[in-house]
Subunit: 214 residues, 3 copies
């Protein structure tokens, strides 16, 4: 009975629900990232990596569902390619968080600098605006102002993340004399910075969609 | 007479033939990569680099032909931009293999780790699925299942390559104490890992094409 | 009165003017880059960074104007997404120059190698062709040959920049024994090399536009 109702639901709805599901997984992962950059022991690093990896698997499954829906649906709320690009780029955010937590586990750096926490906070904020933007996707034709503002915010946060990453590099080069440690920390924080880039890239895809339908 | 027959050939055919030609060059280059990561002397490194560079030149020429055809053909089998993106991304795979072999030659690392061979094997497999997918491009509207499966395989192999690259990084950081050597090997293997990313990106473009015509 | 005339101007014109404005800012910044890689003191580094950063802000403003115009204009000279991609990728060139000059200021390397100047010269040439291509955008349908040639030149210059970057890496690895200094210089020159990649990417977008309308 439930499955019948499901099939009768307008398909339009289905895509928004799947993108929101993916957005929720990204939020949960970015909440874990906030703690993951503050771990004290290697066991904790392993535990956070496993949790985030599990969320990545779930996001992969949702992306697969979106792809199948795109192939089985005649009318989509906006261009098929845009929905596909959107879910693909959201998946990139997830992959970069997994990669960051994996590097923390694998490299086992002497200490994780405070700037990593700042980056994780900016990423969490950007992911928040991403989800707000996704929520607006079904009504942006009526009121494009809100969703545009969320895209602006993702851009602003990406620039802030660039600044934090560069501040981190100055301190790193002036204080850390062990080159191997420099390589490790640069790599770990770079994944976080790239995750905010990926959020901004989602914002750019959304802007393209807005432009197409304006 | 041959040239007349050529012009009368359906253009549709022409694009598939050019993409297949490019695919064949990529296969040949990835076969060379399998050996290039196992070289014992600097002379061998130079020789493999030259061979792969020559294949890159040939691929550039094919890409140029595709671009000219796109400008001179009214009806294309699918969207012009997609054919262009496809050949452009295939060219990226070639460039990354050239760059990897060039770095092996230039950096002259003390030894190339076993993981480089594993990456080259995964790349060769991915490139194999890429060519199978290209072969299906002219019939995916009738039977999309095969081509979809090849795209899935390129995605699976990209994730495996990520894992191999990350395993390599753990061993590198735990065993290699010479930071310069760390930078060199990280750079060399990164190009191979990026080449599998580029294969997956081709898979993504193909998926977009499938979605458009589903 | 001026504003009324402005509104009556054909919109087609407006987009070209904005893209040209952005191109001019990029030219000015790349002229500064030529000097920035030759600085002798840290104060000079700070001064160049500030000037280039200011140009980046101006380019951001122009990009914002383009986005707003795209949302308020019914008929555009070519696809909205392409205009948006074009301005977005031009903005990337600007960001990479800012990032390069910022790294020179922040890392304060012992010396900047001669190859950085060579890269800056190639970037300046590529940016020159980029601007010529932008100037042709309003007439490429009539005479596509010129604009195609400019795109070819951006591709040629990107390959030259790759070679210079790789030559720099050989010398760096053979002469610089301080791993931290290796990381710093590799990072600084990489941003310049990536800026020529971004020029080539603009060329690719233009080629896609040509293909669409051929």
């Amino acid at each position: 009975m439930n499955s019948l109702i499901d099939k009768l639901k307008p398909k339009e709805n289905k895509f928004f629900l799947l993108l929101q599901k993916m957005g929720d997984l990204i939020i949960t992962a970015s909440d874990l990232m906030l703690e993951c950059v503050k771990i004290a022991t290697h066991d904790e690093a392993v535990s956070y990596y496993k949790k985030i990896k599990e969320l990545e698997h779930q996001a992969d499954a949702v992306q697969g569902e979106i792809f199948e829906e795109l192939n089985n649906t005649f009318i989509t709320p906006f261009d098929r390619e845009d929905i596909n690009n959107l879910s693909s780029k959201m998946d990139d955010i997830m992959d970069l968080m997994t990669s960051c937590s994996k590097r923390i586990m694998l490299y086992n750096p002497k200490r994780i600098p405070e700037n990593a926490s700042n980056l994780a906070v900016l990423l969490r904020e950007s992911v928040g605006f991403l989800n707000l933007a996704i929520d607006e996707l079904d009504s942006f034709k009526k009121r494009p102002e809100k969703i545009k503002e969320y895209c602006v915010q993702m851009n602003v946060l990406e620039k802030k993340a660039d600044d934090v990453y560069e501040d981190f590099l100055i301190v790193l080069f002036s204080e850390e004399k062990d080159a191997i440690e420099v390589i490790k920390l640069k790599d770990i924080l770079h994944e976080l910075e790239r995750a905010t880039d990926a959020c901004e890239a989602v914002g750019k895809i959304i802007k393209t969609v807005i432009i197409k339908y304006s």
